[in-house]
Amino acid sequence: MKVLLGIGGSEDSLYALEQAVARAMAAGDDLTIAIVENPDSSMDEGELRARVDAVLENEGFDAEVVSLSGHPGSQLLEFAEREEFDRIVLGGGETSPLGKVQLGSIAEFVLLNAQTTVTLIR
């Protein structure tokens, strides 16, 4: 399966990175990692790329890494459709002080607008 992981640097996206790499290795999936601009994230693109490289190297796994600029949700969807991905994978949200699950704005946009199947990592 051709899988596109979108990450913007939030905690849940970093967790999704590790889970998606592990899953792709187990399933023999073809994984592409798209770094998107998340305005709420404190990590810049360079830091995120270093993190991605470290995870891939640590796991001994090979994945294509691309950077998408502009509106993160729509850029991810356009890329997924253009490159004919089977699935988009995203972080599944963070929790509020009270423990409520709060979906990120990118995940909300992608869920509502995607033609591609979407998986959220919990």
């Binding site: 929790t95 002080p97 009270l98 423990g99 409520k100 699950v101 709060q102 979906l103 909300e108």
Partner: protein, 174 residues
């Protein structure tokens, strides 16, 4: 993230204790939480899964205990509605990292639509004000008209309308 708070103070409401008869004639008492941990666990074990929102309360007992541990810390404000020895409602304020507090309220299914929620949330806002909390916010699922109507009635106003969930805020002190 900067959150817009209303210009008007909500209430101000009196904190606990409060006693009243609900619309079904049941005698209800609201008090500050006072180490009744196991009774609250019992209440959440009875909580109707349909009434869960955004992943809380957790469904399994282990999850409930862990979640309550976090809510019942000293820096949080908790009030409980009692019918005799049974906890039937619970409302909580949990501090965030920006000096405000997040609010949530839970009432058991068979005690809903009896006026307990309004009393409970007013009491919680009163307790919060007495504890020096000035800003309170919450998120609510958009389709939950009963909840959003209750929050508006006690002084919350919508502040972030962009996401799946509606965010609302209230001010407890000028």
């Amino acid at each position: 993230m900067t959150r817009e708070y209303p210009d008007e103070v909500a209430g101000p409401y009196e904190g606990p204790p409060r006693s009243f008869a609900d619309r079904d004639g049941r005698d209800i008492e609201i008090r500050r939480y006072d180490d009744e941990f196991e009774t609250l666990v019992e209440m959440y074990l009875q909580f109707d899964p349909e009434d869960r929102a955004q992943g809380i309360p957790p469904t399994a007992e282990k999850g409930i205990r862990k979640w309550l541990d976090n809510l019942l810390l000293d820096e949080c404000v908790n009030v409980v509605a009692w019918h005799g020895d049974d906890a039937v409602g619970h409302a909580t304020l949990v501090p965030d990292t920006e000096g405000a507090s997040e609010l949530a309220i839970f009432v058991l299914r068979e005690y809903q639509e009896a006026g307990i929620g309004t009393q409970l949330i007013e009491c919680l806002l009163g307790a919060g004000r007495e504890s020096g909390i000035e800003q309170v916010w919450l998120t609510v699922e958009r389709w939950n008209k009963a909840a959003t109507a209750l929050y508006r009635k006690v002084g919350f106003e919508p502040c972030d309308t962009s996401g799946f969930e509606l965010e609302m805020a209230a001010k407890l002190a000028a």
